[in-house]
Symmetry: C2
Subunit: 338 residues, 2 copies
DNA sequence: TGTTAGCACTCTCACCCGTTGAGTGCTAAC
DNA sequence: GTTAGCACTCAACGGGTGAGAGTGCTAACA
């Protein structure tokens, strides 16, 4: 077999086909290219080139008298071209994100919302596991009617709280005293260690071991939440905006894949570089053969890395999406990266 | 016009038509009723009765040679029949809810999830506004790297927190001292008052008015969140399970109505009794003419009342849905009531 | 050798039309 | 009041047809 590297013109035509297809979602014919993109060439010439591109596996024909549709291989080429240049963070996306971050509590779910609203695709944000978490502070905040809010803060700044019952005669100062003791003894320990050590302290807090129990529960919950990478999804309904999913059955299949976060996680597993694009069949998941996943990395301090991403039809304006993700990834890195 | 009260047999037939239509989503013919439900009557007799029922506005024909479909008026009659008896809380629904409540933090969103999963419809949970909120405690919890977690607790037990920057040389004790002062001065005040009073204290906290600013921000956010009834929605995609919405356009319209929480809120506004059923056109919203909303009230302590509900196609097993909502409403009342 | 015009060919899509079957309304008999 | 019977209506289905879009191929041209 002789080599068939595609020349500059073929590449230009291929790019035009992809652009047009992304725009219209309809198979692209030779006339369209000759009139809208390569006005110096006739449709017949384009036809010849398209025929070549098809033979090389870059194009496919839904049926003989339809135009051509780019294949996964074509998107791959296109995307590699994009990624070989510097991805330009989209300032508009960043502004969008910054504006919304004030309103919502959680930066991660906020990022997911911002991405999905901005790109109009489904957004995924992955938050890396944090195994090496150590308790930095532990505090009880008085609440009405014999309750208290237990707050645990880790050295990485993760916060969790829970309401526990305490004896009614503990006032704010008493709770603070307990908090001090607890913090003194537990600061610097990992969550696992905290759970193990709790038995020993139960005497020192006045026999009221609901506090101890509460800490143990919360520490356990925190540990289990943070021991795994977590995935947040935003704008899952956005898929309905695209004609690829105008069949309700398909849409439902897509949405149910989103429920299985464990499987989705696999998409980020082997991710090396700053950006990742997985095109349809490359993902090896039956249900996602006509989806693409675009991701950008962000830094969550201390060597941890997470990903922000978009899931949409393969027919996607990759440059625009990469720009948006890049901007939001940067913003997240700034916020979480210390 | 003479009166046309429908007799017992007509009502039985109407009920059979509704039951069958709820099950199959297909227009119901006279033969079906005569064979499956009223075996002692011939289809011709049923036809006569159906013709009467149509004239009375209880049935409609999509086209002349199709069977009949119940009208909103029919559902209304049917539902009024249900509501005149005692609604039986569904113990299975309650078990389902209780089982899940452990796993999730927030009872409200947990309820929404449980309802939608159990009924397979879209769930709404309304949480009443809490205008009379007063600050009960205010505390700063030290965090690494010159941050602190600001926690505000109200007398009703609502909690909000936010991370603020503070000067690096404030240790835990110093933060507690500030917390004490703040609590002393602000406890018992409403959130509005707190916002107004903040200026006055800015000197007393060592000139570091990031703390003041943080409190003001958080108080404002809290006030705005709690000053209005809030709506939580669960299982919005469930609508895709029903043939009524196999048209993507319709599904999208439905989903986008769900986004406009303000408008949805109106559906609960005039709700008086323990249960409410709004059928299609009764809601006066163009987009919801073929939806129904079923709600049950719950008590959130201190005279506040909220609603749990389900939104689905008019063709809905109302008895089952009412039973489930009743059970979950009871469970919520128990949890939030005290 | 690359480009282009022309033409026959293919295939989808939209439309028409007849057939089928479900379901009705009406009438007359029980 | 109930029922059998019958004529009628209409959606749904399937086959047939024509228009349109787009291709591949060939031959001519630069």
């Amino acid at each position: 077999m002789e080599e068939h590297p595609i020349d500059a013109r073929k590449e230009r035509i291929l790019r035009a086909i992809i652009d047009d297809y992304v725009l219209t979602a309809m198979p692209v014919g030779s006339r369209t290219i000759s009139r809208k993109y390569e006005t110096s060439l006739s449709s017949a010439t384009i036809r010849n080139e398209m025929s070549d591109l098809e033979e090389l596996g870059y194009l496919a024909q839904p049926h003989v008298s339809a135009g051509r549709v780019p294949s996964a291989k074509a998107y791959r080429l296109y995307v590699d071209g994009l990624l070989s240049e510097r991805v330009q963070p989209d300032p508009e996306a960043r502004a969008y994100f910054s504006q919304r971050v004030r309103q919502m509590e959680d930066v991660i779910s906020c990022a997911a919302a911002a991405i999905s609203e901005f790109t109009r695709y489904t957004a995924v944000v992955m938050m890396p596991k944090q195994l090496d978490l150590r308790v930095s502070c532990l505090q009880l905040v008085p609440m009405p009617r014999g309750s208290a809010l237990l707050v645990i803060v880790t050295d990485t700044g993760a916060i969790r709280d829970t309401v526990i019952r305490v004896s009614e005669n503990l006032d704010g100062d008493a709770l603070y005293a307990i908090s001090r003791t607890l913090t003194e003894h537990l600061a610097g320990r990992t969550l696992q260690e905290v759970q193990e050590m709790l038995g020993a302290y139960s005497r020192q807090v006045g026999g009221d071991d609901r506090v101890i129990q509460g800490i143990a529960d919360l520490a356990a919950r925190m540990a289990s939440q943070l021991a795994f990478d977590t995935l947040t999804i935003g704008g899952s309904q956005n898929i309905l905006n695209y004609p690829e999913y105008s069949d309700v059955e398909k849409a439902r299949a897509f949405l149910s894949v989103l429920e299985e976060k464990q499987r989705l996680m696999a998409l980020f597993a082997g991710q090396g570089g700053a950006y990742g694009v997985r095109i349809g069949p490359e993902m090896g998941m039956e249900e996602m053969t006509d989806c693409s996943v675009v991701t950008a990395r962000y830094r969550a301090g201390a060597g941890h890395q997470g990903f922000v991403g978009v899931i949409g039809p393969t027919r996607m304006p990759y440059a625009r999406v990469l720009g948006a993700l890049s901007a939001i990834g940067e913003a997240l890195s700034d916020m979480l990266g210390e």
